[in-house]
């Protein structure tokens, strides 16, 4: 089990050329929105590469993403966002990208905020694009879901040593340090992909920051908003957070995950 020596990985790429950016789009049965999302990303930022991780979709998600100009990694069956994201981070680490950004396929993350997220990586390892940071934000949640998000934000702010207002946001950018950690440890459990991954990152010494963004309405599909679902969300959030806090990280599974090509590419420039 390789030990993470986060400090040895440079935060800013050594080269003078602009950093190579990979946008990872986890997609599960998102055929109605994935094409538009990919096209928009490439339109606004032609210099980035887009990798859509098709999380075992039964529809035309992969085909439409490919037609829109993305590379598509097809998972043989559904693993959840965590599995899709770890696939993306591994690809990013192996292909030597400097920055990996997660953008959800449902179109609620506006790629115009990408430069703002990436700029923050000059002094942090992970930057989250968050919803509630602005007072005039039209997007509001209430009830149990709000309490859950409040609790998660409070605990994680404390862990990260900085104020975080929405840790469940899937719009986030990572530099090579964080990417290397996530390529090896990215939980597959519910909420693990957002909440627990941040706990892991802070445990191994990554720094987290946030920038306010406007979240858009989803292009297709519906957000889970019923009060029962919100209560279930609260319960699962507490469980996920509790587990994340008591678990030992980095976990030692019995096989090295990224390391099969030799040692972890910690100092790959």
């Amino acid at each position: 089990m390789p030990q993470f020596q986060i400090a040895t990985i440079p935060r800013v790429p050594r080269t003078e050329s602009p950093p190579r950016v990979l946008v990872i789009v986890p997609a599960w049965n998102e055929q109605d929105s994935v094409g538009r999302t990919v096209r928009e990303i490439l339109e606004v930022h032609p210099e980035v590469d887009v990798l859509v991780v098709d999380d075992g979709s039964g529809d035309a998600t992969a085909e439409r993403a490919e037609a829109a100009g993305a590379r598509v990694a097809r998972l043989p069956f559904n693993l959840g966002v965590g599995g899709a994201m770890r696939t993306g981070y591994r690809h990013a680490v192996r292909e030597g990208y400097d920055i990996a950004v997660q953008i959800d396929a449902d179109g609620q993350h506006d790629p115009r905020f990408l430069p703002a997220l990436i700029a923050e990586l000059d002094h942090a390892d992970i930057c989250i694009g968050v919803r509630f940071a602005k007072p005039d934000d039209p997007y509001t949640v209430r009830g149990p879901r709000r309490w859950a998000m409040f609790l998660l934000a409070k605990v994680l702010s404390r862990l990260a040593g900085t104020r975080l207002t929405d840790v469940t946001s899937g719009f986030r950018a990572c530099n090579r340090r964080a990417m290397t950690v996530f390529a090896e440890h990215y939980p597959a459990e519910y909420l693990g992909d957002t909440v627990e991954s941040l706990v892991i990152a802070t445990r191994v010494g990554c720094t987290v920051t946030q920038v306010p963004i406007d979240m858009r309405r989803r292009i297709a599909g519906t957000a889970s908003a019923s009060p029962i679902r919100a209560a279930v969300f609260l319960f699962r959030a507490v469980v996920a957070l509790g587990l994340a806090l008591v678990r030992k990280w980095p976990a030692s599974f019995d096989e090295g995950v990224v390391a099969e090509d030799g040692p972890l590419p910690l100092d790959a420039a």
């Binding site: 100009g69 993305a70 990694a73 097809r74 998972l75 043989p76 693993l79 770890r86 696939t87 597959a188």
Partner: protein, 124 residues
């Protein structure tokens, strides 16, 4: 010999025979067979010689010997299902890793087989 003894003896013999057959046909790995084999032998011994159980109950001050059996059996079953949960978790983590690797391998295979730009292909 009471009917309860015969029942226990028959059950123990069935378990031992089944285990042996499964092992012989490569249906069971040794690491799981061992614990089952010990259990089967234990129940066989108790069915054949109930005195063992009575002696043990006296030793542990258990008034009803069958309660001792239930206690030990439930504890063992609990331990084994816990062991299985652990093994399943390990397997799930491995299949997850394999699935991710398969996706990345397919991605690389596609890139080497069809080096054309995906946008051009869709226009065909």
């Amino acid at each position: 010999m009471t009917s309860a003894n015969v029942l226990g003896l028959a059950a123990a013999i069935i378990v031992v025979v089944t285990l042996f057959e499964m092992l012989r046909r490569h249906r069971l790995r040794e690491k799981y067979a061992l614990i089952w084999f010990v259990l089967a032998m234990g129940s066989l011994a108790i069915a054949a010689f109930p005195a063992i159980l009575f002696g043990l109950s006296d030793l542990l001050n258990v008034q009803v010997p069958s309660n001792l059996i239930f206690f030990i059996a439930s504890l063992l079953l609990l331990a084994m299902s816990l062991q299985h949960s652990f093994e399943i978790g390990k397997l799930e983590e491995r299949t997850r890793t394999l699935a991710e690797e398969v996706a990345l391998l397919r991605l690389n295979a596609d890139a080497t087989e069809r080096p054309t730009d995906p946008i051009d292909r869709s226009a065909e």
